[in-house]
Amino acid sequence: MMFSVILSTASRYLLPLLLIFSFFLLLRGHNEPGGGFVGGLVAAAAYALYFIANGIDEAEKLLKAEPVKLIAVGLLLAVISAVPSLLAGKNFMSGIWLDTNFPVIGKLGSPLIFDVGVYFLVLGIALKIIFSLAEEDK
């Protein structure tokens, strides 16, 4: 970590901003630039920043979930997004949509679940890689 009160303070206040932004990117990705991948990376960036500023232990404490679990959940969601199509007897991974309209998100549907899966997975892998390397450091 870097012994900089300035950086660490900044990182604490940037974290929520970045996270909200990452959600924003994720949810609107279907209609505007963004999506699960970039969203996940921004979230990961937030944690990466926090880790650099406050050290690996702090960062791991902050992130309650074990990254591997995040990865698993991500993949799981991606697979689950295909379940509705199978239940509906449609082709595998056919999009099943609710007929409602939310701001930002737009329609809710199985592809969205898929994208959320991507989000978690990307977050998980980025953090797993960075944290493994960081622990290697200590």
């Binding site: 074990e66 591997v68 679990k69 990865i71 698993a72 993949l75 799981l76 697979v79 295909a82 199509s85 199978l86 449609k90 082709n91 595998f92 991974m93 056919s94 999009g95």
Partner: protein
């Protein structure tokens, strides 16, 4: 439309995910992996039956009509590849229980194994060239990890070469995909097969076909692109070597067969002659490379190459019989080669080394193991009536029919040299007395192996040996199958219709 055809891709992912959710619990991994690979086996066989009875099955992912959505296509060739993958997956699952060390198991060996299978099945089943690229990458990255898992010096050095050369070929592959899209404006294999004959700008097709040939050639380890294989295959745990040896190169061979029977047949005079030359040199360099080696697994590794040569020969000759031969060869070789690596692993456990110089006297005390080596070894050397003989026989028959006498001559010579190295192993490992003296010297670590593990070690070997014998003694159905598969490839119309039919 049969939803089942996607399962060989999805199921391994599901199993992997389950293991990751219990990522610290090795026992869970073991059993999920075993059960999983068995389920995959059953599913794949069901699919095979379906394909045999009602012809090619194609599924449009997401319900988007071809060629715009991605097609999953199960024709005879791809399905049988999936089945064999499942067979090997299952055998390896058993063998791993017997041989894999706790550390590697802890560090997610089993999930990685499943994901490897996912990639392989994806590559076999997809009907979309970019999607094929994706599955190749899934397969590659998992093979990278499995190869390096454990981080011993040899593994790492091997991995460096393996990774670099395979990434190079991926880069070529990716470029080729882009270029082909730029020329033909489609990614769907069936669509390509349909469009290419009517393409106005044919000139660049041959060029791009060369790029594909090289990209797949590296994966298939043909001459002069095979160097990554002998540099790495003998370095990981033998279970990994075995599954690599059996399956990975065959994905390359499969891709070559698929592309050069379905998509690129506009200039066979050029492309398939290249393949022919490469095939001859592959057989020769491979077998000579083996002759020079004195390490059990290295000899086997080089023989993968020389055997690949026969398969490519079948493709290059490009007659129904020849391609049938190639397919039969693939089927036979996957089983046999995996098994030989399994045996080498058992010898290692017994005698503590892979080096022919340091081991010996195995036959004297373990005649069964000797037999279990001889079956695949002689099959590999093409001794009748084992599976390998029919494979060679068909390819050579085809070669003689097309009057490619020179190549056939090489094929025969290579057959003899193969016999030479197999007997070399037999002489050194099994016949000759143990260099430590003529009593039964066992590696001290061997005494620590539980009977359960020993059982798990030997069962898959027997299982695969039986398959080899069955294919040999009861070759009729297998050959007929290969023949039908070949005809399906030569006449792409069925393939095209079943994919683009819904248009």
């Amino acid at each position: 439309m049969n939803p089942l055809v996607i399962f060989p891709i999805i199921l391994p992912l599901v199993f992997a995910v389950i293991m990751l959710l219990f990522w610290k619990k090795v026992p869970v991994h073991r059993y999920v992996n075993l059960a999983g690979s068995f389920i995959s086996l059953v599913v794949s066989i069901i699919i095979l039956e379906a394909v045999i009875s009602d012809g090619i099955i194609s599924l449009q992912i997401g319900g988007w009509e071809a060629p715009f959505g991605i097609s999953i296509v199960a024709d005879l060739l791809s399905t049988v590849m999936v089945v064999i993958t499942a067979v090997i997956g299952f055998a390896t699952a058993l063998y791993s229980l017997g041989t894999m060390d706790e550390e590697r198991e802890k560090y997610l060996y089993y999930p990685l194994l499943q994901l490897l299978l996912m990639g392989i099945n994806g590559a076999f089943l997809t009907g979309d060239i970019f999607n094929l690229y994706v599955w190749f990458e899934v397969m590659l990255i998992s093979s990278f990890v499995l190869l390096a898992l454990g981080g011993r010096r040899g593994q790492l050095e091997g991995a460096i070469k393996y990774v670099t050369l395979n990434l190079l070929s991926s880069a070529i592959f990716l470029a080729a995909v882009g270029i082909l899209y730029g020329i033909a404006g489609t990614l769907n294999m069936a669509d390509l097969a349909r469009k290419i004959p009517f393409l106005e700008q044919k000139e660049l097709l041959t060029v791009v076909s060369i790029l594909f040939m090289v990209a797949f050639g590296v994966k298939a380890a043909i001459f002069p692109l095979f160097f990554w294989l002998p540099a790495s295959y003998h370095t990981p745990p033998v279970a990994v070597s075995a599954i690599f040896a059996g399956l990975l190169t065959k994905v390359g061979v499969y891709a070559l067969i698929r592309f050069f029977t379905t998509i690129f047949i506009h200039d066979t005079a050029f492309t398939h002659n290249l393949l022919l030359i490469s095939a001859a040199l592959t057989m020769l360099t491979g077998v000579l490379g083996a002759a020079a080696q004195n390490d059990f697994r290295k000899i086997l590794s080089f023989h993968i190459i020389s055997q690949i040569g026969y398969m490519i020969l079948g493709l290059a000759l490009y007659s129904p019989l020849a391609i049938a031969g190639a397919i039969f060869y693939v089927i036979h070789h996957i089983i046999v080669k995996t098994n030989l690596f399994f045996v080498s692993g058992v010898v290692k456990k017994l005698k503590g080394s892979y080096s022919l110089k340091d081991v010996g006297g195995v036959y004297k005390y373990y005649p069964l193991l000797g037999l279990l080596f001889l079956i695949p070894a002689l099959s590999l050397a093409g001794i009748p009536p084992l599976s390998g003989f029919w494979a060679k026989f068909v390819v050579i028959k085809a070669g003689l029919e097309i009057q490619e006498y020179f190549v056939v001559g090489i094929a025969l010579l290579v057959g003899l040299l193969t016999l030479f190295s197999m007997t070399k192993i037999w002489n050194e490992v099994f016949w000759k007395d143990d260099p430590k003296g003529n009593e039964n010297h066992l590696d001290e670590s061997y005494r620590l192996i539980s009977n359960y593990k020993k059982f798990m070690m030997i069962t898959p070997i027997i299982f695969l040996a039986l398959i080899t014998i069955v294919i040999g003694l009861y070759a009729e159905p297998f050959f007929t199958f290969a023949n039908n598969a070949a005809n399906q490839l030569i006449d792409s119309s069925n393939y095209i219709n079943s994919v683009l039919g819904m248009k």
